[in-house]
Protein backbone atom coordinates (compact mmCIF):
# COMPACT_ATOMS: atom_id res chain seq x y z
CA UNK A 1 0.00 0.00 0.00
CA UNK A 2 1.10 3.53 -0.71
CA UNK A 3 0.73 6.59 1.47
CA UNK A 4 -2.48 7.43 -0.25
CA UNK A 5 -4.00 4.20 0.79
CA UNK A 6 -3.96 2.89 -2.75
CA UNK A 7 -2.68 -0.58 -3.41
CA UNK A 8 0.03 -1.25 -5.97
CA UNK A 9 -2.58 -2.82 -8.24
CA UNK A 10 -4.90 0.19 -8.02
CA UNK A 11 -4.90 0.82 -11.76
CA UNK A 12 -5.88 -2.80 -12.38
CA UNK A 13 -8.85 -2.43 -10.02
CA UNK A 14 -9.94 0.84 -11.61
CA UNK A 15 -9.59 -0.60 -15.10
CA UNK A 16 -11.58 -3.67 -14.08
CA UNK A 17 -14.35 -1.50 -12.65
CA UNK A 18 -14.47 0.65 -15.77
CA UNK A 19 -14.43 -2.28 -18.19
CA UNK A 20 -16.97 -4.20 -16.12
CA UNK A 21 -19.50 -1.38 -16.31
CA UNK A 22 -18.67 -0.69 -19.98
CA UNK A 23 -19.19 -4.31 -21.02
CA UNK A 24 -22.28 -4.59 -18.87
CA UNK A 25 -23.75 -1.57 -20.64
CA UNK A 26 -22.67 -3.00 -23.99
CA UNK A 27 -24.52 -6.23 -23.28
CA UNK A 28 -27.61 -4.23 -22.35
CA UNK A 29 -27.56 -1.92 -25.36
CA UNK A 30 -27.12 -4.78 -27.83
CA UNK A 31 -30.85 -5.41 -27.48
CA UNK A 32 -31.68 -1.76 -28.04
CA UNK A 33 -29.99 -1.95 -31.42
CA UNK A 34 -31.79 -5.18 -32.32
CA UNK A 35 -35.43 -4.27 -31.68
CA UNK A 36 -36.48 -4.66 -35.31
CA UNK A 37 -34.36 -7.71 -36.02
CA UNK A 38 -35.55 -9.57 -32.93
CA UNK A 39 -39.19 -8.67 -33.54
CA UNK A 40 -38.93 -10.25 -36.99
CA UNK A 41 -36.94 -13.23 -35.70
CA UNK A 42 -39.44 -14.11 -32.95
CA UNK A 43 -42.45 -12.96 -34.93
CA UNK A 44 -43.71 -10.65 -32.18
CA UNK A 45 -44.60 -6.95 -32.15
CA UNK A 46 -41.67 -4.63 -31.51
CA UNK A 47 -43.22 -3.52 -28.25
CA UNK A 48 -42.70 -7.03 -26.90
CA UNK A 49 -38.97 -6.72 -27.51
CA UNK A 50 -39.02 -3.32 -25.80
CA UNK A 51 -40.71 -5.02 -22.88
CA UNK A 52 -37.60 -7.15 -22.35
CA UNK A 53 -35.65 -3.97 -21.45
CA UNK A 54 -38.28 -3.30 -18.81
CA UNK A 55 -37.78 -6.84 -17.49
CA UNK A 56 -34.05 -6.17 -17.30
CA UNK A 57 -34.69 -2.89 -15.48
CA UNK A 58 -37.06 -4.48 -12.98
CA UNK A 59 -34.54 -7.17 -12.01
CA UNK A 60 -31.61 -4.81 -11.51
CA UNK A 61 -32.35 -4.10 -7.82
CA UNK A 62 -32.37 -7.86 -7.17
CA UNK A 63 -28.87 -8.11 -8.61
CA UNK A 64 -27.68 -5.08 -6.67
CA UNK A 65 -28.94 -6.67 -3.47
CA UNK A 66 -27.51 -10.16 -4.06
CA UNK A 67 -24.11 -9.24 -5.46
CA UNK A 68 -23.75 -6.25 -3.12
CA UNK A 69 -24.41 -8.46 -0.13
CA UNK A 70 -21.94 -11.06 -1.35
CA UNK A 71 -19.27 -8.43 -2.03
CA UNK A 72 -19.60 -6.96 1.45
CA UNK A 73 -19.47 -10.39 3.05
CA UNK A 74 -16.88 -12.23 0.94
CA UNK A 75 -14.78 -9.49 -0.69
CA UNK A 76 -14.97 -7.58 -3.96
CA UNK A 77 -12.99 -9.86 -6.25
CA UNK A 78 -14.88 -13.15 -6.22
CA UNK A 79 -18.40 -11.65 -6.48
CA UNK A 80 -17.14 -9.36 -9.26
CA UNK A 81 -15.76 -12.34 -11.18
CA UNK A 82 -18.94 -14.32 -10.54
CA UNK A 83 -21.00 -11.39 -11.78
CA UNK A 84 -18.98 -11.08 -14.99
CA UNK A 85 -19.17 -14.80 -15.72
CA UNK A 86 -22.88 -14.81 -14.90
CA UNK A 87 -23.93 -12.05 -17.26
CA UNK A 88 -21.55 -13.24 -19.98
CA UNK A 89 -23.15 -16.68 -19.83
CA UNK A 90 -26.65 -15.21 -19.94
CA UNK A 91 -25.65 -13.06 -22.91
CA UNK A 92 -24.41 -16.10 -24.80
CA UNK A 93 -27.65 -17.93 -24.02
CA UNK A 94 -29.58 -14.94 -25.40
CA UNK A 95 -27.80 -15.61 -28.68
CA UNK A 96 -29.14 -19.17 -28.65
CA UNK A 97 -32.73 -18.12 -27.94
CA UNK A 98 -35.12 -20.41 -29.84
CA UNK A 99 -38.21 -18.30 -29.11
CA UNK A 100 -39.45 -15.11 -27.52
CA UNK A 101 -40.35 -16.59 -24.12
CA UNK A 102 -36.86 -17.97 -23.65
CA UNK A 103 -35.38 -14.64 -24.71
CA UNK A 104 -37.61 -12.73 -22.29
CA UNK A 105 -36.54 -14.89 -19.35
CA UNK A 106 -32.89 -14.52 -20.31
CA UNK A 107 -33.18 -10.72 -20.40
CA UNK A 108 -34.81 -10.73 -16.98
CA UNK A 109 -31.97 -12.90 -15.65
CA UNK A 110 -29.49 -10.57 -17.33
CA UNK A 111 -30.97 -7.76 -15.23
CA UNK A 112 -29.73 -9.51 -12.07
CA UNK A 113 -26.19 -9.46 -13.43
CA UNK A 114 -26.43 -5.92 -14.68
CA UNK A 115 -27.78 -4.68 -11.39
CA UNK A 116 -24.98 -6.34 -9.48
CA UNK A 117 -22.14 -4.94 -11.50
CA UNK A 118 -22.23 -1.24 -10.60
CA UNK A 119 -22.12 -1.53 -6.82
CA UNK A 120 -19.40 -4.17 -6.75
CA UNK A 121 -17.32 -2.58 -9.52
CA UNK A 122 -17.37 0.93 -8.10
CA UNK A 123 -16.50 -0.18 -4.57
CA UNK A 124 -13.61 -2.26 -5.92
CA UNK A 125 -12.31 0.69 -7.94
CA UNK A 126 -12.93 3.50 -5.46
CA UNK A 127 -11.39 1.62 -2.57
CA UNK A 128 -8.27 0.93 -4.61
CA UNK A 129 -7.89 4.37 -6.21
CA UNK A 130 -5.46 6.93 -4.76
CA UNK A 131 -7.55 9.49 -2.86
CA UNK A 132 -6.54 12.44 -5.02
CA UNK A 133 -7.52 10.52 -8.16
CA UNK A 134 -10.95 9.53 -6.91
CA UNK A 135 -12.85 12.37 -8.57
CA UNK A 136 -11.51 11.85 -12.09
CA UNK A 137 -11.68 8.08 -11.84
CA UNK A 138 -15.25 8.31 -10.62
CA UNK A 139 -16.08 10.19 -13.82
CA UNK A 140 -14.26 7.57 -15.86
CA UNK A 141 -16.11 4.74 -14.14
CA UNK A 142 -19.50 6.27 -14.78
CA UNK A 143 -18.61 7.02 -18.39
CA UNK A 144 -18.46 3.26 -18.84
CA UNK A 145 -22.17 3.39 -19.56
CA UNK A 146 -21.71 5.85 -22.42
CA UNK A 147 -18.77 3.82 -23.66
CA UNK A 148 -20.90 0.69 -23.61
CA UNK A 149 -23.53 2.41 -25.67
CA UNK A 150 -20.96 3.60 -28.21
CA UNK A 151 -19.44 0.12 -28.42
CA UNK A 152 -22.87 -1.42 -29.02
CA UNK A 153 -23.48 1.13 -31.77
CA UNK A 154 -20.20 0.12 -33.43
CA UNK A 155 -21.15 -3.55 -33.19
CA UNK A 156 -24.55 -2.80 -34.71
CA UNK A 157 -22.97 -1.03 -37.63
CA UNK A 158 -20.22 -3.53 -38.40
CA UNK A 159 -20.90 -6.89 -36.72
CA UNK A 160 -24.60 -7.17 -37.32
CA UNK A 161 -24.52 -6.94 -41.14
CA UNK A 162 -21.61 -9.38 -41.33
CA UNK A 163 -22.45 -12.06 -38.75
CA UNK A 164 -26.10 -11.54 -37.79
CA UNK A 165 -27.91 -10.91 -34.54
CA UNK A 166 -26.84 -14.03 -32.66
CA UNK A 167 -23.19 -13.03 -32.97
CA UNK A 168 -24.02 -9.70 -31.35
CA UNK A 169 -24.90 -11.59 -28.17
CA UNK A 170 -22.03 -14.04 -28.42
CA UNK A 171 -19.58 -11.15 -28.49
CA UNK A 172 -21.14 -10.31 -25.14
CA UNK A 173 -19.20 -13.25 -23.71
CA UNK A 174 -16.05 -11.11 -23.70
CA UNK A 175 -16.59 -9.91 -20.12
CA UNK A 176 -15.77 -13.43 -18.99
CA UNK A 177 -12.16 -12.69 -19.99
CA UNK A 178 -12.23 -9.74 -17.63
CA UNK A 179 -12.85 -12.23 -14.82
CA UNK A 180 -9.50 -13.83 -15.66
CA UNK A 181 -7.85 -10.41 -15.57
CA UNK A 182 -9.31 -9.81 -12.11
CA UNK A 183 -8.24 -13.26 -10.98
CA UNK A 184 -4.61 -12.65 -11.84
CA UNK A 185 -4.12 -8.89 -11.62
CA UNK A 186 -6.57 -7.23 -9.26
CA UNK A 187 -5.79 -7.33 -5.54
CA UNK A 188 -8.52 -7.69 -2.93
CA UNK A 189 -9.69 -4.44 -1.40
CA UNK A 190 -7.71 -3.46 1.69
CA UNK A 191 -10.67 -1.43 2.94
CA UNK A 192 -12.93 -4.47 2.75
CA UNK A 193 -10.40 -6.58 4.65
CA UNK A 194 -10.38 -4.02 7.46
CA UNK A 195 -14.15 -3.60 7.68
CA UNK A 196 -15.38 -7.08 6.83
CA UNK A 197 -18.16 -8.51 8.94
CA UNK A 198 -18.84 -12.12 9.86
CA UNK A 199 -22.21 -12.67 8.25
CA UNK A 200 -24.60 -11.31 5.64
CA UNK A 201 -26.98 -10.59 8.50
CA UNK A 202 -24.45 -8.16 9.92
CA UNK A 203 -24.19 -6.38 6.58
CA UNK A 204 -27.96 -5.96 6.55
CA UNK A 205 -27.93 -4.68 10.12
CA UNK A 206 -25.37 -2.06 9.12
CA UNK A 207 -27.66 -0.88 6.32
CA UNK A 208 -30.67 -0.91 8.66
CA UNK A 209 -28.74 1.21 11.15
CA UNK A 210 -27.97 3.69 8.38
CA UNK A 211 -31.51 3.67 6.99
CA UNK A 212 -31.88 7.46 6.89
CA UNK A 213 -28.77 7.87 4.81
CA UNK A 214 -29.79 4.98 2.59
CA UNK A 215 -33.23 6.52 2.04
CA UNK A 216 -31.56 9.82 1.17
CA UNK A 217 -29.36 8.09 -1.39
CA UNK A 218 -32.37 6.40 -2.98
CA UNK A 219 -34.17 9.75 -3.34
CA UNK A 220 -31.01 11.39 -4.68
CA UNK A 221 -30.55 8.63 -7.23
CA UNK A 222 -34.19 8.80 -8.29
CA UNK A 223 -33.78 12.45 -9.24
CA UNK A 224 -30.41 11.79 -10.84
CA UNK A 225 -32.21 9.26 -13.03
CA UNK A 226 -34.83 11.86 -13.87
CA UNK A 227 -31.95 14.15 -14.86
CA UNK A 228 -30.28 11.67 -17.19
CA UNK A 229 -33.29 9.92 -18.67
CA UNK A 230 -35.26 13.16 -18.75
CA UNK A 231 -32.64 14.71 -20.99
CA UNK A 232 -32.00 11.65 -23.16
CA UNK A 233 -34.85 9.23 -23.71
CA UNK A 234 -37.26 11.44 -25.62
CA UNK A 235 -34.70 13.78 -27.12
CA UNK A 236 -34.41 11.96 -30.48
CA UNK A 237 -38.19 12.03 -30.76
CA UNK A 238 -38.14 15.73 -29.88
CA UNK A 239 -35.56 16.33 -32.64
CA UNK A 240 -37.72 14.47 -35.12
CA UNK A 241 -40.97 16.16 -34.20
CA UNK A 242 -39.83 19.73 -33.57
CA UNK A 243 -36.77 20.07 -35.81
CA UNK A 244 -37.60 17.44 -38.46
CA UNK A 245 -34.15 15.91 -38.07
CA UNK A 246 -33.41 12.77 -40.13
CA UNK A 247 -32.81 9.38 -38.51
CA UNK A 248 -29.10 9.41 -39.39
CA UNK A 249 -28.62 12.89 -37.97
CA UNK A 250 -30.49 11.96 -34.80
CA UNK A 251 -28.15 9.02 -34.32
CA UNK A 252 -25.14 11.28 -34.85
CA UNK A 253 -26.43 13.86 -32.37
CA UNK A 254 -26.84 11.06 -29.81
CA UNK A 255 -23.24 10.02 -30.41
CA UNK A 256 -21.96 13.61 -30.11
CA UNK A 257 -23.92 14.02 -26.89
CA UNK A 258 -22.29 10.85 -25.56
CA UNK A 259 -18.85 12.29 -26.26
CA UNK A 260 -19.91 15.36 -24.30
CA UNK A 261 -20.98 13.01 -21.53
CA UNK A 262 -17.59 11.31 -21.33
CA UNK A 263 -15.70 14.62 -21.34
CA UNK A 264 -18.06 16.16 -18.78
CA UNK A 265 -17.65 13.20 -16.46
CA UNK A 266 -13.88 13.64 -16.39
CA UNK A 267 -13.90 17.44 -16.04
CA UNK A 268 -16.48 17.68 -13.28
CA UNK A 269 -15.13 14.57 -11.59
CA UNK A 270 -11.83 16.41 -11.28
CA UNK A 271 -13.60 19.57 -10.10
CA UNK A 272 -15.31 17.54 -7.37
CA UNK A 273 -11.89 16.51 -6.14
CA UNK A 274 -10.75 20.13 -5.90
CA UNK A 275 -13.95 21.84 -4.72
CA UNK A 276 -16.03 19.11 -3.11
CA UNK A 277 -18.49 16.54 -4.35
CA UNK A 278 -21.63 18.63 -4.06
CA UNK A 279 -20.07 21.74 -5.57
CA UNK A 280 -18.78 19.63 -8.47
CA UNK A 281 -22.25 18.24 -9.08
CA UNK A 282 -23.95 21.61 -8.78
CA UNK A 283 -21.43 23.21 -11.13
CA UNK A 284 -22.16 20.53 -13.70
CA UNK A 285 -25.90 20.96 -13.33
CA UNK A 286 -25.47 24.74 -13.62
CA UNK A 287 -23.94 24.14 -17.03
CA UNK A 288 -26.96 22.04 -17.99
CA UNK A 289 -29.30 24.72 -16.68
CA UNK A 290 -27.54 27.43 -18.68
CA UNK A 291 -27.74 25.54 -21.96
CA UNK A 292 -31.43 24.63 -21.76
CA UNK A 293 -32.28 27.55 -24.09
CA UNK A 294 -29.97 26.03 -26.73
CA UNK A 295 -30.92 22.43 -26.04
CA UNK A 296 -34.71 22.76 -25.89
CA UNK A 297 -35.42 26.06 -27.61
CA UNK A 298 -32.55 26.36 -30.14
CA UNK A 299 -33.63 27.65 -33.51
CA UNK A 300 -31.14 25.85 -35.75
CA UNK A 301 -29.55 22.42 -35.93
CA UNK A 302 -25.97 23.57 -35.12
CA UNK A 303 -27.28 25.35 -32.01
CA UNK A 304 -29.24 22.26 -30.99
CA UNK A 305 -26.17 20.04 -31.48
CA UNK A 306 -24.10 22.40 -29.32
CA UNK A 307 -26.88 22.37 -26.75
CA UNK A 308 -27.05 18.55 -26.75
CA UNK A 309 -23.28 18.26 -26.35
CA UNK A 310 -23.13 20.74 -23.45
CA UNK A 311 -26.30 19.42 -21.83
CA UNK A 312 -24.88 15.90 -21.62
CA UNK A 313 -21.48 17.25 -20.54
CA UNK A 314 -23.31 18.77 -17.58
CA UNK A 315 -25.60 15.81 -16.93
CA UNK A 316 -22.81 13.26 -17.05
CA UNK A 317 -20.58 15.75 -15.22
CA UNK A 318 -22.96 15.50 -12.28
CA UNK A 319 -23.32 11.76 -12.79
CA UNK A 320 -19.58 11.32 -12.90
CA UNK A 321 -19.34 12.36 -9.27
CA UNK A 322 -21.94 9.80 -8.20
CA UNK A 323 -19.67 6.73 -7.80
CA UNK A 324 -17.27 8.52 -5.48
CA UNK A 325 -19.97 10.48 -3.64
CA UNK A 326 -22.02 7.37 -2.89
CA UNK A 327 -18.97 5.34 -1.94
CA UNK A 328 -17.81 8.03 0.45
CA UNK A 329 -21.27 8.31 2.02
CA UNK A 330 -21.76 4.56 2.37
CA UNK A 331 -21.06 2.67 5.57
CA UNK A 332 -17.66 0.96 5.51
CA UNK A 333 -19.11 -2.51 6.01
CA UNK A 334 -21.74 -2.09 3.28
CA UNK A 335 -19.91 -0.15 0.58
CA UNK A 336 -21.02 -2.49 -2.20
CA UNK A 337 -24.60 -2.95 -1.09
CA UNK A 338 -25.65 0.58 -0.11
CA UNK A 339 -24.54 2.50 -3.24
CA UNK A 340 -25.47 -0.28 -5.65
CA UNK A 341 -28.94 -0.87 -4.27
CA UNK A 342 -29.66 2.87 -3.94
CA UNK A 343 -28.62 3.30 -7.57
CA UNK A 344 -30.86 0.54 -8.88
CA UNK A 345 -33.86 1.42 -6.72
CA UNK A 346 -33.56 5.02 -7.93
CA UNK A 347 -33.49 3.73 -11.47
CA UNK A 348 -36.67 1.73 -10.89
CA UNK A 349 -38.50 4.58 -9.14
CA UNK A 350 -37.68 6.95 -11.99
CA UNK A 351 -38.93 4.60 -14.69
CA UNK A 352 -42.19 6.57 -15.31
CA UNK A 353 -39.98 9.40 -16.59
CA UNK A 354 -40.93 9.03 -20.25
CA UNK A 355 -44.62 8.76 -19.52
CA UNK A 356 -44.54 11.93 -17.42
CA UNK A 357 -42.63 13.90 -20.04
CA UNK A 358 -44.78 12.64 -22.86
CA UNK A 359 -47.93 13.64 -20.98
CA UNK A 360 -46.44 17.09 -20.35
CA UNK A 361 -45.70 17.41 -24.05
CA UNK A 362 -49.43 17.29 -24.77
CA UNK A 363 -50.11 20.10 -22.31
CA UNK A 364 -47.23 22.57 -22.69
CA UNK A 365 -45.54 21.56 -25.95
CA UNK A 366 -42.36 19.56 -26.46
CA UNK A 367 -39.71 22.25 -25.74
CA UNK A 368 -41.25 23.18 -22.39
CA UNK A 369 -42.01 19.55 -21.55
CA UNK A 370 -38.33 18.59 -21.68
CA UNK A 371 -36.90 22.01 -20.74
CA UNK A 372 -39.28 22.62 -17.83
CA UNK A 373 -38.81 19.06 -16.58
CA UNK A 374 -35.04 19.55 -16.59
CA UNK A 375 -35.34 22.86 -14.70
CA UNK A 376 -37.52 21.31 -11.98
CA UNK A 377 -35.25 18.27 -11.72
CA UNK A 378 -32.09 20.37 -11.41
CA UNK A 379 -33.75 22.60 -8.81
CA UNK A 380 -34.82 19.58 -6.77
CA UNK A 381 -31.36 18.04 -6.98
CA UNK A 382 -29.77 21.31 -5.85
CA UNK A 383 -32.01 21.33 -2.76
CA UNK A 384 -31.26 17.67 -2.07
CA UNK A 385 -27.54 18.26 -2.32
CA UNK A 386 -27.64 21.37 -0.14
CA UNK A 387 -29.62 19.49 2.51
CA UNK A 388 -27.35 16.46 2.25
CA UNK A 389 -23.84 15.71 3.42
CA UNK A 390 -20.58 14.76 1.84
CA UNK A 391 -17.51 13.04 3.16
CA UNK A 392 -15.07 14.33 0.60
CA UNK A 393 -11.89 12.25 0.27
CA UNK A 394 -12.40 10.40 3.53
CA UNK A 395 -10.11 7.46 4.01
CA UNK A 396 -11.64 4.06 3.43
CA UNK A 397 -8.97 2.40 5.54
CA UNK A 398 -8.49 2.94 9.26
CA UNK A 399 -6.35 5.95 10.15
CA UNK A 400 -3.77 3.94 12.11
CA UNK A 401 -3.18 1.79 9.05
CA UNK A 402 -2.59 4.83 6.89
CA UNK A 403 -0.29 6.40 9.48
CA UNK A 404 1.82 3.28 9.77
CA UNK A 405 2.13 3.11 6.00
CA UNK A 406 2.98 6.80 5.75
CA UNK A 407 5.53 6.53 8.52
Amino acid sequence: MSKSGASSGAHHAVLAGFLGWTLDAFDFFVVVFLFDVLARQFNVPKKDIVLTTTATLAMRPVGAFLFGLLADRYGRRVPMMANLIYFSLIEVLCGFSPNYNFFFVMRALFGIGMGGQWGVGTSLAMEAAPVRWRGVLSGILQSGYSNGYLLAAVAARFLLPAWGWRAMFWVGALPALLALYIRFKVPESEAWKQHRVDSTGQVLRVVAKEWKRFAYLVVLMTFMMFLSHGTQDLYPDFLQEVHKVSAAMRANITIIANIGAVIGGIIFGHLSQVSGRRIGMMAAMSLSLCVIPLWAFGGSIPVVILGAFLMQAGVQGAWGVIPVHLNELAADAARSLMPGLAYQLGNLLASPNNSIQYALRGKVGYPWAIGGFAIVTIGTLAILLLCGKEEHSRSFVRSEAVKSEAG
Partner: protein
Protein backbone atom coordinates in the same frame (compact mmCIF):
# COMPACT_ATOMS: atom_id res chain seq x y z
CA UNK B 1 5.88 11.70 -12.12
CA UNK B 2 5.10 8.82 -9.85
CA UNK B 3 4.42 5.49 -11.51
CA UNK B 4 0.96 5.29 -9.97
CA UNK B 5 0.00 8.67 -11.46
CA UNK B 6 1.23 7.60 -14.86
CA UNK B 7 -0.87 4.45 -14.68
CA UNK B 8 -3.95 6.42 -13.69
CA UNK B 9 -3.40 8.84 -16.56
CA UNK B 10 -3.20 5.85 -18.90
CA UNK B 11 -6.53 4.55 -17.62
CA UNK B 12 -8.13 7.98 -18.20
CA UNK B 13 -6.58 8.28 -21.66
CA UNK B 14 -7.69 4.76 -22.55
CA UNK B 15 -11.30 5.45 -21.58
CA UNK B 16 -11.33 8.69 -23.56
CA UNK B 17 -9.67 7.00 -26.52
CA UNK B 18 -12.24 4.21 -26.50
CA UNK B 19 -15.13 6.69 -26.51
CA UNK B 20 -13.68 8.85 -29.28
CA UNK B 21 -12.76 5.85 -31.45
CA UNK B 22 -16.21 4.35 -31.13
CA UNK B 23 -17.85 7.70 -31.88
CA UNK B 24 -15.68 8.21 -34.95
CA UNK B 25 -16.50 4.71 -36.22
CA UNK B 26 -20.20 5.26 -35.53
CA UNK B 27 -20.40 8.55 -37.33
CA UNK B 28 -18.29 7.29 -40.24
CA UNK B 29 -20.37 4.11 -40.55
CA UNK B 30 -23.41 3.99 -42.78
CA UNK B 31 -25.28 1.05 -41.33
CA UNK B 32 -28.51 0.80 -39.40
CA UNK B 33 -29.60 3.69 -37.24
CA UNK B 34 -32.02 1.29 -35.55
CA UNK B 35 -32.22 1.24 -31.82
CA UNK B 36 -31.16 4.72 -30.93
CA UNK B 37 -33.91 6.18 -33.06
CA UNK B 38 -36.74 3.76 -33.39
CA UNK B 39 -36.71 2.63 -29.80
CA UNK B 40 -38.16 5.91 -28.70
CA UNK B 41 -41.21 5.59 -30.91
CA UNK B 42 -41.97 2.25 -29.35
CA UNK B 43 -41.30 3.47 -25.83
CA UNK B 44 -43.61 6.40 -26.36
CA UNK B 45 -46.29 4.21 -27.86
CA UNK B 46 -46.26 2.06 -24.78
CA UNK B 47 -45.90 4.99 -22.45
CA UNK B 48 -43.04 3.32 -20.67
CA UNK B 49 -39.34 3.94 -20.37
CA UNK B 50 -36.81 2.49 -22.75
CA UNK B 51 -33.53 2.97 -21.00
CA UNK B 52 -31.05 5.15 -22.76
CA UNK B 53 -27.42 6.15 -22.84
CA UNK B 54 -26.43 7.33 -19.38
CA UNK B 55 -26.79 5.64 -16.00
Amino acid sequence: MRRNDLRMRMVVAGAMGLALTCAALDIAGKASPAGDTEKYDVAIARGRAARAPIS
